[in-house]
Every structure is written in C-alpha cells, then in structure tokens.
C-alpha cells in the first residue's frame, strides 16, 4: 500500500494525457464558477461598501457561506438541474460568492475616511471617489477574497466528480479503473494545482497593492499570506471574521 505513494508517480507518467484532460476540465469548471461569482458578488459588495449600507448582511454572508456544507449544496441542486456540469457550477458559485462579496464590502467600506473626505473636498463626484480613491485602495483585499474563493472552488470541484462534473474528482471517484495509484496521483496533481492557484493570486494581490501598503505585508515560506491584523478593523476591535480569515486561506474538501 505504501508503494502506491511511489507508484502514483509512474501513474502520472503513463496516464499524463488523462490527467491533463481532467485538469483542463477541472480548471474550466473552477474558472467559470469563480468568474460568475466575481460578477455576482464583486460589484454588489463594492457598491454596498461605498454606500456603507447593509453592513450586517454583507459581513455575515461570508460566515453563512463558509458554513454551507459543499456536498449538501451539490445534492440539493440535483432535483432541479440534474447531474452534470451545471449542478456543479451552480453549487460552486453559491459557495464562492460569499467571501468575494464580504471582502469587497469590507475593502471599500474600510478605506481611510480621511482620504475619502479629502477626495470629496477637492470636488470629486461620488463615482470618481469610488473609482479613483476607494477602489485602488480596496483592490488588495478584494483580490484576497477572490483568492480565498478560487482556492476553495478548485478544491471543492473535486466533489463535483461524483455528480458528473468531471475533472480530477472523476479520477478519484473511479477507483475501479485507476486504482489507488490513480487516486493518489490525482491527489498530487490537485495539491500542486491548489498551491499554484494560491501563488497566482498572491502574485496578483501584490501586483494590485499600491506601493505604500506593500511594505506591511509578509508571507510565510509556505506561500500563505498573513493578512495584516489591522487591515480589517471593525468597531475598534479585531472581529472574529478577521480572525477566522487569518486561517481561511486553505482549501476545503
């Protein structure tokens, strides 16, 4: 059995095509889901943050979203849309929107009020304040939210393999054909994929962070970024949402 951990590498060698095909399907489903989630959650979160409205809802939706059990969401879709890609994408979108929405809200809501006042003071209209002042400062945290979602979606898309979504989950669900070697091989690939997506978004975050804010970021060698504790301050203390965000950077399922 312990042999399988080594055999898995030769599986990758011999079944490279199969794995590559499934990686493509996997990434396709993930990318589509994240894109839709960004469209649904991003502008809404930004708008609410700009208006400083519905804060309770916007902040807590990520808690609710995080609590949703993935398999349950996938199963509930079945009576309505049947098996296949659509069910998986709908479920992934439902799970991906909350972190994006909450982070977008908090990011824009928490922009330094003095800067916003100054902008208004020099005569910028609300839309310009949003695009020229608030958004640039909010981008790092927005991207952090997208990153959380993306990593989570890539991991959860694996479960979609049970429901006809394809991807690496379809390899894992097929122990009959591919054996333990195949399952472990798919695991290796998925772990690498997850870290790659993680790194990609860390890079994107860095790219959109204004130079002035960059100095305060630090990252551990493992590639996880520890967010500054003061970035998300609400009501004068560190909220639990922030504390759990410190951890909620990995994948799940």
């Amino acid at each position: 059995m312990s042999n399988s951990f080594v055999e898995a590498f030769s599986f990758i060698e011999h079944h490279g095509d199969l794995l590559l095909d499934q990686v493509k399907v996997h990434l396709e489903i993930s990318a589509e889901s994240v894109a839709i989630a960004i469209l649904l959650g991003g502008p809404l979160g930004v708008l609410l943050g700009h208006l400083h409205r519905f804060s309770f809802l916007a902040i807590n939706i990520s808690n609710v979203g995080r609590a949703l059990p993935s398999l349950a969401v996938l199963a509930i879709g079945l009576p309505y849309v049947g098996v296949g890609k659509l069910d998986v994408i709908i479920a992934l979108v439902v799970l991906a929107v909350p972190p994006i929405l909450t982070n977008a809200y908090v990011a824009v809501d928490q922009v330094d009020p003095d800067t916003v006042d100054a902008a208004k003071g020099i005569g910028l209209r609300p839309l310009q304040v949003l695009t020229k002042v608030e958004l640039p400062q909010a981008l790092p945290l927005i991207f952090a939210g997208i990153r959380t979602s993306a990593v989570f979606v890539v991991a959860t898309a694996t479960l979609g393999g049970i429901f006809g979504g394809g991807g690496l989950g379809a390899v894992i669900n097929n122990r009959e054909s591919y054996g333990l070697d195949g399952i472990i091989a798919a695991c290796y690939v998925l772990i690498v994929l997850t870290f790659a997506v993680q790194l990609l978004f860390v890079g994107l975050e860095r790219a959109v962070t204004p130079a002035g804010m960059r100095a305060t970021r630090s990252s551990t060698r493992s590639g996880f970024t520890r967010r500054r504790a003061t970035v998300v301050l609400t009501e004068g203390g560190v909220t639990q949402e922030e504390q759990s965000d410190l951890v909620d950077q990995g994948s799940r399922t």
């Binding site: 079945l78 049947g82 098996v83 296949g84 393999g161 049970i162 429901f163 006809g164 394809g166 379809a170 669900n173 097929n174 122990r175 009959e176 054909s177 054996g179």
Partner: protein, 319 residues
C-alpha cells in the same frame, strides 16, 4: 479577585469540550455496519449458534444492497452472526476487500468475475461456461463459489423509447447510425470490456462519448436528455416503466451474469454445512421476477432494502 473570572471561563470551556468528546466517544458504537445474531430460545439450537462471526460486504447499488440483506438476514435467522458492511464499492474495490481479509464474502456476478476480475481473455458462450470459469479462478485463489441464482443481471445500454423510435434503434449495432453519441454510466465502464471497451471493440462504436455518472443517477440524466444513452442493469426497477428501450446485445459483450456468493474457503469450513445450505436456499428463491419486484420496491417505491429483504424472506419462511 478580578483575575479568577477569566480563569474560570477558560477551564469551563476546556472541561465542556473534553466532556462532550468523551461522552460521544463512549456513546458511539461501531456505527455504519449492522451486527446482529438471530433469534434465541428455540427448542433445537440453531445451526449458527456458536459459530464464528463473519463479515459480509455488498457493492454500491440497489440490487446488491438487497442481496447483502437477503443473505445476511437469512443467515441470522439460522443463528449465525453476520456483520454486513454495505456500499463498499464496485467490483475491483470489493474484491480487494475480500482478498485483504476485510470481508469474508460478498455476492458477485459470474460474468464480472470471468471477464473483469479474472480477465480471462475469451468470451464464454453460456451461463454454465461462465460459472465454471469463474468458479475455477476463485477456487485457485482460495475462495468458494456457491450455487448461482436463477436470475441474471447483465449490464445493458438503454435509450428513451421515443429516441429509439425516432432513430430506429433496436440493437446495439444500430447505435452506429447515430455517429457521435453520448453514453452515461458508472465510471468503471470506461475501462471495462463489459462497458465502453467492448462497445468499441465488438460493435465498432468509436464515436462514443463517455460521461461518467455515479450508479443510480443515469436514469435521471437520460430523462433530462443530458445524455443520449445510458448504462443500465437488466433487472433495474426503472425498466418496468416502459419509458426506456434496452438495446439488444447481439454480440453478447455483457456476458452471462448470475449472482453467486463468493466465500473464503476457510470461513465456509468453519461455519458448517448449514451455512452453505442457507445461502443456496436463498439463491434458489431469486428468480428474475422476484428480484425485479424487489428492485422496483427499492428504486421506485423507495422502500428500505433491509425491510424489503425481510418481507421477502418471511413470505418464504426463511426469516
């Protein structure tokens, strides 16, 4: 002192967590598998009394749930102690569980043993030949194959009846008329001769697009027109509805598939002759009509497989 309240709270949380964990650990039993012995207190001691407990497994679909329950409950009625582990997986997985000793027996299909497990390259021409080949192979590995059931349950390919009429499909060869078409089925079909491989080799259906679906979800996918054709079992309860056309397997790629209990030889020895007799008695009762009716009760009427098995055994004086 002002300091003690936080201190007490910390201890309270720690104790609460520890107590919860301990209580639930003590409260939980083996969970997930049933472990019972049969009735006691009859005048003649039941043949199973005092015999070592055995572990039986079943595969991951409705008919196997029924088979596992039928055999296990009949044995328990004779006093045997049977630990039934349900839903272990498809053939290769459950066979591994058998050979590694995690289970002592499970119900398998003769054709699957012959072609997919033993991988004997030729195609047997009769149910008898299939049984012989399967029995010989299992015997060599140290496992006994008991009497087969009258019913056979082979894989098959089905399409919606309207679709069949529209495209003039009655046999599997007719599928070539479709050119490219999609075929949904359990993932293992992709690499099985009694699946996609055979469809390509024997029928030349090279334009087949396989869509893996967990067993049981195919009918819903076909109903929603998400696939053109699906893999079915010929004894599925859904087939009685008349909505589907099963295409004739003229080249016989799906083989002959009677069910046989596969039991470790040493276990068979240890349990005594009544063990084998009981299993064979149950198998003899399983005609096509019986199994299809039971499948229908589970798959369509959503009855509990254990309850259906019990009712059947009771009606036939075996429980």
């Amino acid at each position: 002192m002002k300091n003690t309240r936080p201190f007490i709270r910390t201890i309270a949380v720690g104790v609460a967590v520890a107590i919860t964990a301990t209580l639930t650990a003590c409260g939980s039993s083996g969970g997930g598998s049933s472990n019972q012995s049969g009735p006691t207190g009859s005048a003649t001691p039941l043949p199973g009394k005092g015999k070592p407990a055995i572990t039986m497994g079943d595969k991951n679909f409705a008919e196997e749930y029924l088979l596992g329950n039928l055999y296990a409950q009949a044995l328990r009625a004779q006093g045997f102690t049977v630990n039934l582990k349900g839903n272990i997986g498809a053939s290769a997985v459950i066979d591994k569980a058998l050979t590694s000793g995690r289970i002592d027996m499970y119900p398998e299909y003769t054709g699957v043993i012959y072609t997919e497990l033993a991988k004997l390259g030729d195609r047997p021409q009769s149910a008898q030949q299939t049984l012989q080949g399967a029995t010989q192979w299992e015997n060599e590995r140290g496992f006994a194959v008991l009497d087969p059931t009258p019913f056979q349950d082979a894989d098959g390919v089905a399409v919606l009846k309207d679709f069949a009429q529209q495209h003039g499909l009655t046999t599997m060869e007719d599928l070539t008329k479709l050119g490219k078409f999609s075929f949904g089925g359990p993932p293992e079909n992709e690499t099985r001769y009694q699946g996609v491989v055979g469809m390509k080799q024997a029928y030349g259906l090279n334009q087949i697009q396989f869509k893996p679906l967990s067993i049981g979800l195919q009918y819903s996918a076909l109903d929603k027109h998400q696939v053109d054709s699906i893999a079915i079992f010929t004894t599925d309860g859904q087939l009685a509805s008349g909505k589907y056309t099963v295409l004739t397997d003229t080249k016989g790629i799906f083989g002959f598939q009677q069910v046989v209990p596969v039991v470790k030889k040493s276990v068979l020895q240890a349990e005594g002759p009544a063990f084998e007799q009981t299993l064979n008695k149950v198998s003899a009762l399983l005609t096509t009509q019986a199994i299809v009716t039971m499948n229908k009760a589970v798959q369509i009427d959503q009855k509990n497989p254990a309850a259906v098995a019990k009712a059947f055994l009771q009606a036939n004086g075996m429980a």
